[in-house]
């Protein structure tokens, strides 16, 4: 399946509108899923379900959003900060996410800010093409 970025964007937008109950004009590429669109942890799974259906793809857990394999590992998180090894693992696991800003202050509480609408677009684009 080959879709243009606009087509992907429209489907992602519909997905987020349905999953999060937001208005479609709130879904901009820069919108952060948690901070701006109010997503909570269960919503990430809902989003994954809907994206799988919308794009007819399989999304392995841990790939699109960070999972327990990093966030639950005490070697990768120390004193509420993601360690260098943790960052390396996240970067490898999630090439569609820009970790450069986060790396300056890898506070675990800020990890939600990394997940923007554009991260989903990047992930889907990579997956389809």
């Amino acid at each position: 399946m080959s879709l243009s970025r606009e087509e992907i964007y429209e489907k992602v937008k519909d997905t987020l509108v349905d999953a999060l109950g937001v208005d479609d004009d709130e879904v901009t590429e820069d919108a952060r899923l948690m901070e701006d669109l109010g997503a909570e942890s269960i919503d990430f799974l809902d989003i994954v379900f809907r994206l799988e259906k919308a794009f007819d793809i399989k999304i392995p857990r841990e790939e699109l959003f960070p999972g327990d394999n990093v966030l639950g590992d005490s070697d990768l998180i120390v004193d509420g900060k993601v360690t260098e090894a943790g960052l390396a693992q996240l970067t490898e696991q999630m090439p569609h996410v820009d970790f450069s800003e986060f790396a300056k202050d890898p506070d675990i509480n800020k990890i939600g800010d990394l997940f923007k609408v554009s991260s989903i677009l990047g992930y889907i684009e990579g997956k389809l093409n």
Partner: protein, 161 residues
């Protein structure tokens, strides 16, 4: 005792869909206060009836091995009021069921008209909570609740109709 808020199942297709009945009686105390002189079943309790219908559908799909907890009401729209004496027919269809969670789409009928549409999500909490541990005993589908479920089975309940 678990709080049972639906009366019986009339259809049950494992892992796919279930239809349950909820009879609304003026004897239910919540109707006395909601509202005084104008009893209306609160939408939240219609959602609860759907959550029980969908939760059992999702639980049965995995032989009640998971602890199924309502995690999210994605959308709930109501087109009419549910009044004492009404019979609600709650139809839940599985949209997605995975290791960690499941989603259902629910339609509530009253007198063959659509009264409400509800989408919800259930979590299999043992699979999902980042290492947080829950008691081993399945407190969702405990023994008492399972024995209640037996009377819901259409093959046995139909003997009484």
């Amino acid at each position: 005792m678990r709080w049972i808020w639906i009366d019986k199942f009339i259809e049950f297709e494992s892992g796919k869909r279930a239809v349950a009945i909820k009879n609304i009686s003026l004897a239910e105390e919540h109707l006395h206060d909601h509202f005084p002189g104008f009893p209306v079943m609160p939408a939240s309790l219609i959602i609860e009836a759907m959550a029980q219908t969908g939760g059992i559908l999702v639980g049965e799909a995995k032989d009640y091995s998971e602890k199924v907890i309502l995690a999210k009401i994605t959308r709930a729209t109501f087109h009419d009021l549910a009044l004492p004496g009404d019979q609600l027919k709650l139809e839940a269809s599985v949209e997605n069921i995975a290791d960690e969670a499941a989603t259902i789409k629910g339609t509530v009928y009253c007198n063959d008209r659509v009264l409400g549409e509800i989408q919800m999500m259930f979590s299999h909490i043992d699979q999902n909570m980042g290492g947080l541990e829950f008691p081993e005993e399945n407190f969702v589908f405990n023994e008492q609740f399972m024995s209640m479920l037996k009377i819901y089975r259409p093959d046995t309940s139909s003997n009484h109709t």
